[in-house]
């Protein structure tokens, strides 16, 4: 009998961190588990492949984590980024569970490493996975296999048949055939919909077609949309996604962490008409990079160009591709496909608006332009030392906020009450807790905590 025909206590939809945490937890509780992963084996793991750390509260130094990070501070950080758009009960549940998760993750094969070079600011709050998220995913698949969890790759779930607030069938395609399973419990952990550009465009407008998707091309939100059509309750702004400005030469999908570009504060940033459009030095980059996704999205063709000179080249982390290099601004303009005269004029105006003062790259130095619109309020040094370097910028979508509404037991809700045998974990329900903004390593925290809850609840339901 093949996996597609056996009967299982639990079917887990999705194959990333949350799905694996659910599957492992349920299997350890004695449930028979099948994972339906939509991606092929080489791309398994959803957006977890691209993650690198886990935001973890701790009351004292915990191995790779320095100092302490209290639940109060953690919650305050969350409130700051979400501007209050969170479900406080669920948020506090996640935060208070993270410390225990650290050990659970280790017990299930995850190894942590000290904060990576260039990320020292996270050494107190975030525990980095050795080898990154794909390594974590690999480890969990090995752990799950030892527990007897079966996995089908390229198994795309198309429909959950609901009757009387119960999932009665999980329909999916596998090896070109339509299959159906009727497990006792179902966990959905199949991510958001950011790889469905049509869906993004219907929410954002046609500009979204020019966005780059930083994560997996397999998160198309098929199960999310199907459940929405079945009347399941959702939470989060359906029109919003977390978007940042990334290297414009990045691939359409799956570029991940390396597409990050941290040069904006030290740059003159122009649109395709070689005109500046926003204060590049408004604040330190960690507090500003998220708004630049939207700023670039609002420019013609959703593209922008950052220009620096050789003084600034080594002030930020290297990006995936070397910058475009030229000995003059005009030559750089030509290489980047911009009007040379217009760019020269913009840079000249900028340069003559730069005043005297001391430059400090790692703090707000107040070195601002005078009489220039828009102003550059920090790090405004003239571009005068060749060679000059340029990067193109595009909007990179990291994740979507719309998700399934769940309660503290991860159970999926509807207007008539909870769905009796359906639980959700990970990005597909994260909008409940992270309604806006972004907090590094928090997605993995939500996925791990709710994955484990969903797995335990689903197994306990199946055994009764």
């Amino acid at each position: 009998m093949t996996e597609a025909e056996k009967s299982y206590d639990l079917v887990v939809i999705g194959g990333g961190n949350a799905a694996l945490c659910a599957a492992i937890t349920a299997a350890e509780a004695g449930a028979s588990v099948l994972i339906l992963e939509g991606a092929p084996k080489s791309y398994r793991g959803g957006n977890s492949r691209h993650t690198r750390n886990f935001r973890c509260m701790h009351t004292q130094p915990l191995e790779v984590l320095t100092d302490e990070y209290s639940a109060t501070e953690y919650f305050a950080d969350l409130m700051k980024v979400t501007k209050g758009k969170t479900d406080e009960k669920l948020a506090r549940l996640v935060i208070s569970s993270t410390q225990e998760c650290y050990r659970w993750m280790q017990q299930h094969g995850v190894h942590f490493q000290p904060s990576l070079s260039g990320t020292l600011s996270l050494s107190r709050t975030n525990a980095f996975f050795m080898g990154g998220g794909k390594s974590l995913v690999n480890t969990y698949y090995r752990t799950a296999a030892k527990l007897g969890v079966d996995v089908l790759y390229e198994a795309q779930v198309t429909h959950l048949e609901l009757a009387n607030r119960r999932v009665i069938a999980v329909e999916f395609t596998y090896q070109g055939q339509q299959k159906s399973l009727s497990p006792i419990s179902v966990v959905v952990a199949s991510g958001g919909f950011q790889a469905d550009l049509d869906w993004l465009a219907s929410a954002w407008g046609p500009a979204a077609k020019n966005f780059l998707i930083r994560g997996t091309p397999y998160n198309k939100g098929v199960v999310l949309k199907d459940l929405m059509q079945s009347g399941v309750a959702t939470v989060g702004d359906p029109t919003q996604c977390h978007a940042v400005a990334i290297d414009g030469r990045s691939p359409k999908f799956d570029g991940g962490i390396v597409t990050r570009l941290d040069c904006v504060p030290f740059s003159v940033v122009v649109n395709k008409n070689a005109q500046r459009f926003y204060n590049e030095g408004e604040d330190v980059w960690p507090k500003r990079y998220a708004i630049w996704g939207r700023l670039v999205a609002a420019q013609p063709d959703q593209v922008a160009y950052a220009v620096i000179d050789s003084k600034s080249l080594e002030l930020f982390m290297p990006s995936v591709f070397p910058p475009i290099q030229a000995d003059s601004i005009a030559e750089l303009a030509v290489k980047m496909g911009l009007n040379a005269i217009a760019l020269k004029q913009t840079v000249d105006e900028f340069n003559s608006a730069c005043g005297d003062g001391d430059f400090y790259h790692n703090q707000l130095d107040g070195l601002a332009t005078q009489g220039l619109e828009p102003v550059k309020s920090n790090w405004a040094r003239p571009l005068d030392t060749p060679p000059f370097y340029g990067y193109s910028l595009r909007t990179g979508v990291t994740f979507t906020y719309l998700g399934l509404k769940v309660d503290e037991s991860a159970q999926v809700q509807s207007s008539q009450g909870p769905i009796e045998n359906l639980w959700a974990a990970g990005e597909t329900m994260a909008g409940s807790i992270l309604g806006e903004g972004y907090l590094a390593g928090f997605g993995m925290a939500i996925g791990t905590v709710f994955g484990r809850i969903a797995g335990a609840e689903a197994a306990s339901y199946a055994s009764n």
Partner: protein, 371 residues
């Protein structure tokens, strides 16, 4: 097998493209010595890439952890990229160039030919010795005098060592090596003695024979091979010293320094090489330099034959086949030493140089951080 003709510029370019992506990611920082060295740079000179390539132990941890490996369009394959640069770097610095070129055209055939020629030569020497002396084959030196052996073996050992020394000197200057101190040396020897770079930062071993499963198999077989080789080398050196300094001649008792070292070393070397060959057979060949896979396998086989034929000599004792077996065993040893400047054996010398260079980098960094 593809012959290595010229220094492959494309190989270095490909490695550079990939390392620049690694440098923007950094997820693999704790796996081995390569990544901390990468993350210290903004851009990579050819020499730096050669140094990184020789620092890489092909443990493959980074590859299975990589979010950008095939089929991703970035197509990152660091173990393969660095293996190719590493191979090219050895070829670039090999001395004399002409012999390296001949060897790399058909390494297996050259090795087989060398063994066959020496076997014949040594057998002929024995034949004429025994027909003139009229004695039976009761021990080695009635078959071949110690002096005759030394006349052949000393240059066969010394000349290749000189060639390798010249190569490493050129390599050291290319990678910007500085004056070597005791602490550089002890750091590098520490890495080698425990094969730290095959253990990963978490000490669970490497990903070699079974995709992303961490295992110590390769590390242990490699150490058996390395220590087995060193013991055998110790046995030969001890025997030479006993012969010349104390005038004690082979064969030695079982409880004697040369035999204890030789037998234990021979067993370790046989087990280690058999293990390495089996792992190499199971491992994914696309994560190594495919051009030299067969040659590397042949080299492991040669080491296995050296050690197992040596052990067999103890076993066979004074039987009728001693002469032939002795000629064969000594020929494999000769081939091993003579071809050393061009075979996989080079990796030990280059690896050591790169580990010392990396110790210098680390100690400079620590000193700078203190200031």
């Amino acid at each position: 097998m593809q012959a290595i003709e010229i220094v492959d510029i494309e190989g270095i370019k490909s490695a550079r493209r990939q390392l620049e992506i690694c440098n923007a990611c950094r997820y693999c920082e704790s796996y081995c010595s390569v990544f901390p060295a990468v993350h210290e740079q903004r851009s990579f000179s050819d020499a730096q890439i050669k140094q990184l390539a020789n620092l890489c132990h092909n443990c493959r941890g980074c590859h299975y952890a990589c979010q950008y490996s095939e089929p991703h369009q970035f197509n990152i394959n660091i173990p393969k990229a660095l293996a190719e640069v590493r191979q090219d770097s050895w070829h670039e610095f090999a001395k004399p160039r002409m012999l390296a070129k001949v060897f790399h055209k058909s390494p297996i055939a050259v090795t087989a030919l060398v063994i066959a020629a020496f076997t014949l030569l040594l057998w002929l020497i024995q034949y004429f010795n025994s027909s003139t002396s009229g004695e039976g084959a009761s021990n080695f030196y009635t078959l071949m005098s110690h002096n005759a052996m030394m006349a052949i073996f000393l240059p066969a050992f010394v000349l290749p060592i000189i060639a390798i020394g010249m190569s490493i000197r050129a390599y050291w200057s290319e990678i910007g090596g500085q004056k070597i101190t005791l602490s550089h040396l002890s750091g590098a020897i520490g890495s080698v003695s425990s094969m730290k770079n095959l253990a990963a930062g978490h000490g669970q071993g490497c990903n070699f024979e079974d995709e992303d499963r961490f295992s110590h198999a390769r590390r242990r077989y490699h150490q058996a091979t390395m220590y087995g080789f060193l013991l055998c080398f110790g046995a030969t050196s001890a025997g030479t010293l006993l012969h010349y300094l104390l005038n004690l001649q082979a064969p030695y008792d079982l409880v004697s320094i040369p035999k204890i070292l030789g037998v234990s070393g021979g067993i370790l070397l046989s087990v280690g090489t058999a293990g390495l060959a089996s792992l190499k057979w199971q491992a994914d060949r696309s994560l190594s330099d495919a051009r030299v896979w067969a040659g590397e396998m042949a080299f492991i086989a040669l080491l296995f034959v050296v050690s197992s034929s040596g052990l067999l000599l103890y076993w066979v004792g004074s039987s009728a086949w001693l002469g032939e077996l002795l000629a064969f065993h000594l020929s494999t040893v000769l081939a091993f030493f003579l071809l050393m400047p061009y075979t996989k054996m080079q990796h030990g010398f280059y690896r050591m140089a790169s580990l010392i260079r990396d110790e210098q980098r680390k100690q400079t960094l620590t000193a700078n951080n203190k200031n």
